[in-house]
């Protein structure tokens, strides 16, 4: 008897704990955030969310019905305290054809209720609707381990081919955008939770999706197919601009890289290194602090717009030195700055890297500190990245050991940061 009482009170305590644990769910704040699919900003994501809700409601109704019947039967027909456990068995029945058939029909009906919107959504999200096709814009996204390359096949630049950017996709708002999905290595998946997603980038196969941003804005994206060591930090951003802003942006992008007036290649910097960079250590941002949102303390879209402007206090000598180092440190072998140096395509195009809000494949905010750290110790920022493996260190084919080719000290990193941040 005592045993059953302790058991019962333990059960009661456990269920009340479970209820307390579920309370935060009622709060509602748990489904919002930079990568929430519950806050949609485009018709494709909206369609996908609607399908989710249809399925949720159907399954909720089934769950509630089954659970309440089960709870009713368990409570109503249980053996009560003081009752003998050896009562005669209840009335025996093997089934009822009508109820059984009815349950089958009901299940099929529930499936049809789910299937109709699902199929409609598949057809709708597969490609840009016929009516909007004339108005559609087209970009090509290519997955690399572990960053995204974005090409604009409609924007051809005289003498250097298609317009290319990396990790930040700028699209026109209010216009459908068809994204061709390619990959150069393993399978990646393109996912912008608030706009559309997700579709795999398959090797040897072309895939595509389409998305549309209702309003100008700044959206988070993420690779959604496990693709190796740094898959978790393979991110990107989508910036939707109004029609006129977008046209201005494209026109600006077509220009060769910006050269700060007064820079002479070969000039050595006179300024001494700033103290805070001399022994720089990375300080982790306190997560979940008030206003915290993945590295931005203010509106990310405003931050992006501000990034398009040249920084104050640029030092031409430092920038010139950085430009020289860009070649000396072999950056130009994998990256390219159109109009300056470099023709590499195995790393992201850096023609406008100073105007991006993020670096390292959408991982870090593009601040001086972060870029400095990314340049001096890339292996500690993003495990397995190809800038470190194959760039800074190269494998000796005979011994299999990775040997360091070069390193970047604080002074050099400061010059490189200045140069890269001058590329707006």
């Amino acid at each position: 008897m005592t045993l059953s009482f302790t058991l019962r009170s333990a059960l009661r305590r456990a269920s009340s704990l479970m209820f307390v644990g579920l309370l935060p769910l009622l709060n509602g704040g748990w489904i919002y955030g930079p990568q929430s699919t519950f806050e949609t900003h485009g018709p494709v994501a909206k369609t996908q969310l609607d399908v989710f809700y249809v399925t949720l409601w159907v399954t909720m109704i089934i769950f509630v019905l089954v659970a309440s019947v089960l709870a009713y039967a368990t409570l109503r027909f249980r053996v009560r305290t003081g009752e003998s456990a050896n009562q005669p068995p209840p009335e025996q029945s093997h089934g009822n054809p009508l109820i059984e058939l009815g349950l089958i029909v009901l299940s099929i009906a529930a499936l049809v209720v789910i299937a109709v919107p699902t199929l409609r959504a598949i057809w709708y999200t597969y490609d840009v609707p016929e009516a909007e096709r004339a108005n559609a814009y087209e970009v090509t996204a290519t997955g690399h381990q572990w960053w995204f390359k974005f090409e604009y096949p409609k924007e051809q630049i005289e003498g250097s081919g298609t317009l290319v950017t990396g990790n930040e996709l700028v699209i026109p708002a209010g216009r459908p955008v068809r994204v061709n999905l390619r990959t150069v290595d393993v399978i990646h998946s393109f996912w912008v939770p608030k706009l559309a997603g997700k579709v795999d980038m398959m090797p040897n196969r072309g895939n595509h999706l389409w998305l549309k941003a209702d309003e100008p804005g700044y959206f988070w994206g993420q690779c959604a197919e496990f693709c190796g060591e740094s898959h978790a930090v393979m991110r990107f951003r989508v910036i939707a601009l109004s029609e006129s802003d977008f046209a201005a942006w494209v026109a600006q992008q077509k220009n060769p890289a910006r050269t700060v007036p007064g820079t002479q290649i070969g000039a050595t910097p006179t300024a001494s290194p700033r103290v805070e960079f001399a022994s720089y250590t990375y300080e982790r941002q306190r997560p979940n602090a008030p206003g915290w949102s993945e590295g931005f303390s203010r509106s990310p879209f405003a931050a992006w717009q501000q990034k398009q402007q040249a920084d104050a206090g640029e030092s031409p000598e430092l920038i010139a030195h950085g430009r020289k180092l860009f070649i000396e440190k072999k950056c130009a072998g994998c990256h390219s700055v159109r109009g300056h140096e470099g023709a590499g395509i195995s790393g992201p195009d850096l023609t406008r890297v100073g105007a991006r809000t993020t670096i390292a494949g959408g991982l870090l905010e593009n601040t001086e500190q972060n870029l400095h750290r990314w340049l001096t110790e890339p292996n500690n920022v993003k495990p397995g990245n190809k800038m470190w493996f194959g760039g800074y260190v190269v494998r000796n084919n005979e011994t299999g050991v990775w040997e360091q080719q070069f390193s970047i000290n604080d002074d050099e990193a400061r010059a490189l940061v200045a140069y890269l941040h001058s590329l707006k």
């Binding site: 059984e100 609707p129 051809q156 081919g161």
Partner: protein, 370 residues
Amino acid sequence: MQAITKSDFIGKDAPVAEKRPLIFTRPTAKTGLVSWLTTVDHKRIGLLYGVSSLIFFLVGGFEALLIRVQLAVPNNTFLSAQAYNELFTMHATTMIFLAVMPLSAAFFNYIMPLQIGARDVAFPRLNGFAFWVFVVGAIILNVGWFVKSGAPDVGWFGYAPLTSTAYSNQFATDMSTDLWVMGLQVLGVSSIVGSLNFIVTIINLRAPGMTMMRLPVFTWMTLITAFLIVLSFPAITIALVALMMDRSFGTSFFEVSNGGLPILWQHLFWIFGHPEVYILILPAMGIISEILPTFSRKPLFGYPIIVFSGAVIGLLGFGVCRTTCSRQAWARWRPRHSRSRRWPSPCRPASRSSTGSAPCGTASCRCAHR
């Protein structure tokens, strides 16, 4: 009585059998460790399955615990990226192949022969063989934790081409994927052998009067699960053999640079992977269908419907694959009136002039509208 405990005793009047080589004699130990190591008794093998499944449940749970600790706060540095990838790969593989499937096998072994009134399963030694092959496969899968290259880190679905030598040997020589391939192949042998045994048992060793439609529901679910295993495991075995050939002998089933098809892996994997979901859940449904009637002291409501829906679940399980893999196939299946014109592509003559140097002739361009 002494004679009866000898396994070759087949009746009082039967001629004494010839002395057989040791390997063909039935193990006779009744107690101690040796009896557990050599047992072919279905209940004891069931217990062995149950105990090993609980051990691996703890292992997989510990792996999950490490994963959750890493995820407890943002930007955590508790685990390295590599260790995290190994943990989620091995957590999933352990829970599916080493915890839940052997748990089902434990119930199949222990309960199913009792339910159909059989003395044992049809092939008791094969039953013991299946268990010990399972143990070997489990060890091969987990041995990576103790070697330098680490545990498998390709995800439990092991999507090509991440499993190819080019990507798994990027930064260090790596044998973890080979271990994963070999472990799953060995586990597949165990599952198929065990399932054939159950199928033969249920079909041939039922007690007189135990017709198919009188079988307890749990035995029905055993039969359906066994058929699912026998039909779906060959697909992943073929895929794993192809992957092993790719990795060890330089073939190109999934090697993109030589024209291999990574999507072939996905199809082969999921034609196994989706029935696998029902391989895991059907035994549990069978158990519930036994427990509920017992404790409500009523016969099962609608026995034939439950049996047939179990069979239909098994059948449709193979169809689930099509819903996941083929977004394009579904999209193409749309009604004719809404089927749209093809997208004007840069590699079509009509639009080529407007886009200048389109990437024509590249693999991606050719496959784009297939």
